[in-house]
């Protein structure tokens, strides 16, 4: 029982990472109806920007905010410059451009900051919380920040005119355009917000997994898994999905032989496939119904 409790708490802590990433995934899915495979690399790049700012002596929270601002602008700029011209191209072309973006960001980060692993500071300290050594202060802080972002998103989408316009633009672009919403800019805004949330996720994750250009691939996969568990259309579901994936991963690792150490990524695969087969819309998502 003691072991079970410990593993659940540890799972919550890693789940925080996935929840962060899943939130960014859901965010961009809401805005553009695509899964952005370059999302992890965008977050990684933002984190490197934060690292550079810190290295130049900028205080942590200032660097945190500046990075978010830069990421927001960069995300919107990527949409305007790279994706707007191919707006009408088939889905597969989009996927290829995501891949191109992935390669560019990864290679650029390695070129500018090289491929060595770098430590990243945490603003919360690393002292264990509750004196048990399971959940560190940083992990608790990470979970708290994730929840704050979630509340912010909820309020933004639910109660602000811009949030409503964004939802309309994503849900039905043509009708949205007819009632005077500038759909193109809403999409750019969505990209910006996704990049900003990705930056937050990256900066929170980096102290745990360390900073290097390919730190994100595995985490992105778990982020996808979490987003799928929660439903790709529900930010709250994504956060909950993140935590449950984290807990599940830890429990499976503890109680099933071989799997824990060697099969971390296949767990995500199994989760994704199982959830999609049993409940294609995820636990909290809306099922897409097609009109004939």
């Amino acid at each position: 029982m003691e072991l079970l409790l410990q593993q659940v708490l540890a799972g919550l802590a890693t789940g925080g990472i996935y929840a962060c990433m899943a939130l960014a995934v859901v965010m961009i899915y809401q805005a553009i109806d695509h899964l952005n495979f370059a999302q992890g690399e965008m977050a990684m790049f933002s984190t490197f920007i934060a690292w550079q700012l810190l290295a130049w002596g900028v205080p942590y929270w200032a660097a945190f905010l500046i990075t978010i601002a830069i990421s927001f602008i960069a995300g919107a700029a990527i949409e305007r410059i790279v994706f707007k011209p191919i707006h009408d191209a088939p889905v597969l072309s989009h996927v290829v451009v995501f891949i191109a973006l992935f390669a560019i960001l990864n290679s650029l980060a390695g070129f500018i900051w090289d491929f060595t692993i770098k430590p990243f500071p945490t603003p919360f300290g690393t002292a264990p919380l509750f004196g048990r050594g399971i959940v560190s202060a940083h992990q608790a802080g990470m979970i708290a920040v994730t929840l704050v972002v979630l509340v912010f998103l909820y309020v933004f989408f639910r109660y602000t005119p811009v949030g409503l316009q964004m939802r309309a633009a994503a849900g039905n672009p043509q009708s949205a355009r007819l009632v005077g919403i500038r759909v193109g800019w809403m999409i750019a805004l969505g990209w910006g917000m996704a990049a900003a949330i990705g930056a937050i996720a990256g900066m929170l994750i980096a102290p745990v997994v360390f900073l290097e250009p390919s730190m994100m691939l595995g985490i992105l996969l778990y982020g996808f898994a979490a987003a799928v568990v929660g439903g790709l259309t529900s930010p709250g579901g994504a956060v909950l999905g993140g935590f449950s994936v984290g807990i599940l991963e830890n429990l499976v690792a503890t109680y099933v032989p071989y799997v824990g150490s060697e099969l971390k990524l296949p767990i995500a695969l199994v989760i994704i496939v199982t959830v999609l087969v049993v409940r294609p819309g995820g636990l909290f998502g809306r099922v897409h119904v097609q009109r004939v």
């Binding site: 390669a103 650029l108 898994a225 995500a268």
Partner: protein, 338 residues
């Protein structure tokens, strides 16, 4: 997808004589090349053919059946490992590993196609993405290390030319691969132009209408997944024999990505496009490396983006455009006369 449709329709119409002539010249050139080129280039061209077979398999699934896959690297890995294990532990001749790998991958693809039935476009992309990322770890698994060789992988010996043919090993493998590739492409062409092929494309264009017309959607979709995996598995087995080595880290996510890139570059829903795709996948990263060593990834990405801007529907769409222009140009004087 629309571009793919017009392509598929256009292929069925005339210009066959021209197409046949191009095909014939192409085959003759392909036969002549290994006697003129250096050994390394022959090796590279063999790999282009191998990738082309894999991309052709992906094209059957994505281009003609409309199911996305970011995970074909996993099937390529299964094919490669089947061949390597059969040769290493079973003492099977390399020729027989090819159908065996195809069969194993067909079953694997069919089984993966079953849950894929319930997944719509983006979700299927996601599930296959997970498959691709997970594949290297599954291959490293310790309980099966005896067979797979773990992280070290398996080393294979290159076969000699049979019947005392005056060819070196690279040349022989090239011809062997060329033969398999021609057979596979011919089969794919026939499949697409058959009743089954039309059913497969009907499912892509409108699944609900296809079902109402009596097409067994579930069966055709899973079968297409199986056949697609079969192609990729055969390519994997050939690839393993050509490279003489299999290891988990040769089958990472980037391999699946390379197939997808090759598919889009070659032209979705156009079978010969796979050759262009294969060549792109093999040669362009090298070109990118020549542009800048440190920034090769970035150069590759920029090339990709430019290519999508210039030819949004790949080489297939580009040739289609040229053909349309030519037809218009030919028709013009006649219209002026009337």
């Amino acid at each position: 997808m629309e571009a793919a449709e017009t392509l598929a329709v256009a292929r069925a119409r005339p210009a066959l004589t021209l197409g046949r002539a191009i095909l014939l010249v192409g085959i003759l050139l392909a036969i002549a090349v290994p006697f003129a080129a250096k050994s390394f280039l022959v090796f590279q061209l063999t790999l282009v053919l191998v990738y082309a077979i894999a991309i052709c398999g992906l094209n059957l699934l994505t281009g003609f059946n409309g199911q996305f896959s970011l995970g074909h690297g996993a099937f390529y890995a299964i094919g490669a490992y089947t061949a390597a294990i059969l040769m290493e532990h079973g003492g099977v001749s390399y020729v027989w590993t090819i159908p065996a790998a195809g069969l194993v991958c067909f079953v694997a693809g069919f089984l993966f196609g079953l849950p894929a039935l319930r997944l719509e476009a983006i979700y299927l992309a996601l599930a296959t993405f997970a498959l691709a990322v997970a594949a290297p770890q599954i291959l490293k698994l310790s309980p099966i290390e005896h067979w797979t060789g773990g992280v070290q992988g398996i080393v294979i010996l290159k076969p000699d030319a049979p019947f005392g043919l005056p060819l070196n090993q690279d040349q022989w493998l090239y011809f062997f691969t060329l033969g398999v590739a021609l057979a596979m492409f011919f089969a794919a062409h026939n499949l697409v132009h058959s009743r089954t092929g039309r059913a497969i494309m009907a499912i892509r264009d409108n699944p609900i209408a296809a079902r109402s017309m009596g097409i067994n959607t579930a069966l055709y979709k899973t079968l297409t997944f199986g056949v697609s995996a079969l192609y990729t598995g055969v390519a994997g087995a050939l690839g393993a024999i050509v490279v003489q080595f299999v290891a988990p880290d040769s089958f990472t996510f980037s391999l699946s990505i390379a197939f997808l890139v090759g598919l889009v570059v070659g032209g979705v829903g156009w079978i010969p496009g796979a050759l262009f795709g294969g060549a792109f996948v093999l040669f362009v990263p090298n070109i990118a490396e020549h542009i800048s060593k440190g920034l090769s990834g970035a150069a590759y990405g920029v090339i990709l983006i430019l290519l999508i801007y210039l030819m949004p529907s790949g080489a297939g769409g580009f040739f289609q455009l040229l053909a349309n222009r030519a037809a218009k140009w030919r028709r013009r004087p006649r219209e002026e006369r009337t």
